[in-house]
């Protein structure tokens, strides 16, 4: 009898408890450092603030100085929510059980190979034996997809140089430090006009669905869904669209693991560099 009573009390208290702690809950959000910290924070902080209002829990944005550092932390499950490329998602799904929540439906993620505008390279074969810049070894579009194509598809011999960020790749190519560089269209379009003027695209890889916002399984499903709903709701507002376009995410849709299974077949594991 006493046992039943206390159980009832606990059961009654639970919702209150749960409701109370919602406002004091804080989740970390890790974003892959495609750009320098400041730009990253400028892009994501307003979105998270808007989401906080809708979800009721607090969101703490965590940047990372370098992509490799981010990758490690990601794979160690240090972020409650994370925005990273699909390949990392697969890995993280395997290791930690991260599940995707939302993604952009308006475009495909492709790697682009850029060369200096005034350089003599016309075909990929011209780059045989030269140095090519990539952001980090495991950047999906810029590095993994690109290297898989260059090596796997075209049998190109090249010396990779990992220059930490996408912006670095473009600068290295523009300044003639490397013959070519791997990036993605979205980051290329974000570069200053005078830098873009120094570059031209030589090759594009096949596209895959772009980066999702994922959640660690330790986040309760209710909160995960709250996040997803809040995101999609925000994305439907004019203000939300304006904010999210800077990520860039032009058309947010709900994401599932099925969107990314095709990636498993690309054989990118061969090009993944562990350290």
């Amino acid at each position: 009898m006493k046992y039943l009573l206390s159980l009832c009390l606990v059961a009654l208290a639970m919702p209150l408890w749960a409701a109370d702690s919602a406002s004091s809950r804080e989740y970390t959000v890790g974003v892959v450092p495609q750009f320098e910290q400041r730009k990253l924070f400028e892009t994501w902080q307003p979105i998270l603030s808007a989401l906080e209002k809708r979800t009721g829990f607090r969101l703490k944005l965590i940047g990372s100085p370098k992509i490799p550092v981010f990758e490690k932390k990601f794979l160690a499950g240090q972020y409650d929510f994370a925005y990273m490329n699909p390949y990392h998602l697969l890995k993280a799904n395997d290791s930690q059980g991260y599940v995707p929540l939302v993604r952009d439906d308006s475009r495909m993620l492709k790697g682009v190979l850029v060369v200096a505008k005034d350089s003599p390279y016309e075909a990929l074969s011209d780059l045989d034996g030269s140095m090519i810049a990539f952001p980090s070894p495991n950047a999906l579009g810029a590095s993994l997809l690109m290297r898989a194509d260059l090596d796997g598809q075209f049998n190109l011999k090249f010396i990779p140089r990992y220059v930490q960020t996408h912006s670095s790749v473009y600068l290295n190519v523009a300044l003639g430090q490397t013959a070519a560089g791997g990036g993605v269209l979205s980051t290329l379009k974000k570069q200053p006009e005078d830098l873009q003027a120094h570059l031209r695209i030589l090759y594009e890889t096949q596209g895959i669905k772009p980066h999702p916002l994922s959640a660690h399984p330790r986040v309760p499903e209710s909160d995960r869904e709250k996040m997803r709903d809040a995101w999609l709701a925000l994305a439907s507002t004019a203000q939300g669209q304006q904010l999210m376009a800077r990520i860039p995410m032009f058309q947010s849709v709900s994401a599932t693991m099925d969107d990314y299974t095709e990636l498993r077949d690309r054989g990118l594991d061969d090009y993944y560099i562990l350290d």
């Binding site: 220059v163 912006s167 670095s168 290295n172 300044l175 120094h198």
Partner: protein, 414 residues
């Protein structure tokens, strides 16, 4: 050149010399040092920047390098140009070739190696605008020199003022006082100050002036006295001369003076042709009666009155003299003998007609007149007098109250 001008030139010269010394000798090293300090500051900053970009540069993270260099350039407004060059000499930053600035002359170029290898990974080069520092240095120099100028000007004014007040003006006053002293003014204001050499000089000058003034006053008194005495003497002399020449009672000339004037007229007559005068001696008749009756006072009054009567009968140019007692003489100048005789007769009548009243008594007197011509043929003075005397005696002898002409039996009664 006066004290004032001398001092001003001296002080101006000193001030100008000092300012020039400060400008050409003192300030240049100071401003050089300031520039050196500024230059070193820029170099230090550059080396810090080189250190900051080393890690990303080693990773080829050019985006990070660009972020850092852009931020550093933004925070260093004096850095006109920042260029990063790799070991092969290729420009890594900025993306496009910057414009040349070599023609501006207030810039310096600094460089720092990135990394501690040799050869270095890269070199960071800046072009620094030293104009602000130079501007500060220049304005510092200018404000210092202006401050010095003001201080020197004030000092100049103070010294000049002192010289003016303590030396020049008192001296000028004393010079003025000395000038005035030469012209006899003793009251000119002397400088007030009692202290120092000028004060002593002023005091001494004042004492000297007082002494001169006293001396001057004494001399003036002395002079006045002497003048007074002299004028007294002169008066006395004149008095004596007058008394020597005139009869005290009647005021007409006396015998001596008459004889002198007669001598002159005689000379004239003897020298010049045609000059002739007439001499007459007049002896009053019945004069003693008055004296005996009424006393000497009456007699004196009578004589005075008769002199007046006779004076009235002759001209201004003629002489009337009292020879003594009741004897008179008349010299008629430029007069012919006939006319002279007529005059004598007239006098004779007038004297006779004159009524003298004394108390309640009445008297009448007469005149015995001797006439003598004075001409070129006349004898000497003594003889003339004698002749006149004789003629007068003759008149008396012939009955009194008449005119007798010398040398002729002529006589006429009045």
């Amino acid at each position: 050149m006066g004290l004032r001008a001398r001092f001003i030139y001296l002080l101006l010269g000193l001030a100008a010399g000092f300012l020039l010394y400060v400008h050409w000798v003192v300030l240049p090293p100071v401003s050089d040092q300031t520039l050196q300090i500024a230059r070193k500051a820029h170099q230090d900053r550059l080396e810090l920047a080189a250190e900051a970009i080393l890690p990303p540069l080693l990773e080829s993270d050019l985006a990070n390098v660009y972020t850092l260099l852009n931020a550093i350039k933004h925070d260093s407004p004096d850095w006109l140009q920042v260029v990063l060059v790799n070991a092969e000499g290729q420009r890594l930053y900025p993306l496009t070739q910057p414009e040349g600035l070599a023609d501006r002359d207030e810039i310096i170029q600094l460089s720092a190696k990135v990394g501690f290898l040799d050869p270095a990974v890269a070199e960071l080069q800046v072009v620094v605008d030293m104009a602000p520092v130079l501007g500060v240095v220049r304005s510092q120099q200018i404000s210092l020199q202006i401050a010095l100028l003001i201080v020197l000007a004030l000092m100049l004014l103070a010294v000049w003022f002192q010289v003016e007040m303590v030396i020049r003006r008192p001296l000028a006053q004393m010079i003025q006082a000395a000038h005035k002293l030469m012209h006899g003014h003793f009251g000119t204001h002397l400088p007030d100050q009692a202290a120092g050499e000028i004060g002593e000089l002023s005091q001494t000058f004042s004492d000297m002036r007082s002494a001169i003034e006293r001396h001057h006053i004494d001399m003036q008194d002395e002079l006045k006295n002497r003048q007074h005495e002299a004028s007294l003497l002169k008066m006395e002399k004149q008095q004596a001369e007058f008394e020597a020449k005139h009869d005290p009672l009647t005021g007409i000339i006396n015998r001596r003076e008459f004889e002198r004037r007669l001598a002159i007229s005689l000379d004239e007559a003897q020298q010049g042709p045609g000059a002739e005068h007439v001499l007459m001696f007049i002896d009053l008749d019945h004069f003693k009666v008055v004296n005996d009756t009424c006393g000497h006072a009456a007699g004196d009054e009578l004589l005075k009155a008769i002199a007046g009567v006779m004076r009235g009968r002759i001209r201004e140019a003629d002489e009337l003299a009292r020879l003594g007692g009741d004897e008179f003489a008349i010299l008629l100048r430029d007069c012919a003998l006939n006319a002279g005789c007529k005059v004598a007769e007239g006098i004779c009548e007038a004297v006779h007609a004159f009524q003298f009243r004394w108390g309640n008594r009445e008297f009448r007197v007469g005149a015995s007149i001797g006439v003598v011509p004075v001409s070129g043929q006349a004898a000497g003075l003594k003889d003339l007098l004698c002749q006149a005397d004789t003629a007068c005696y003759q008149a008396k002898h012939l009955g009194r109250g008449r005119v007798s002409l010398h040398g002729s039996g002529y006589s006429s009664s009045g």
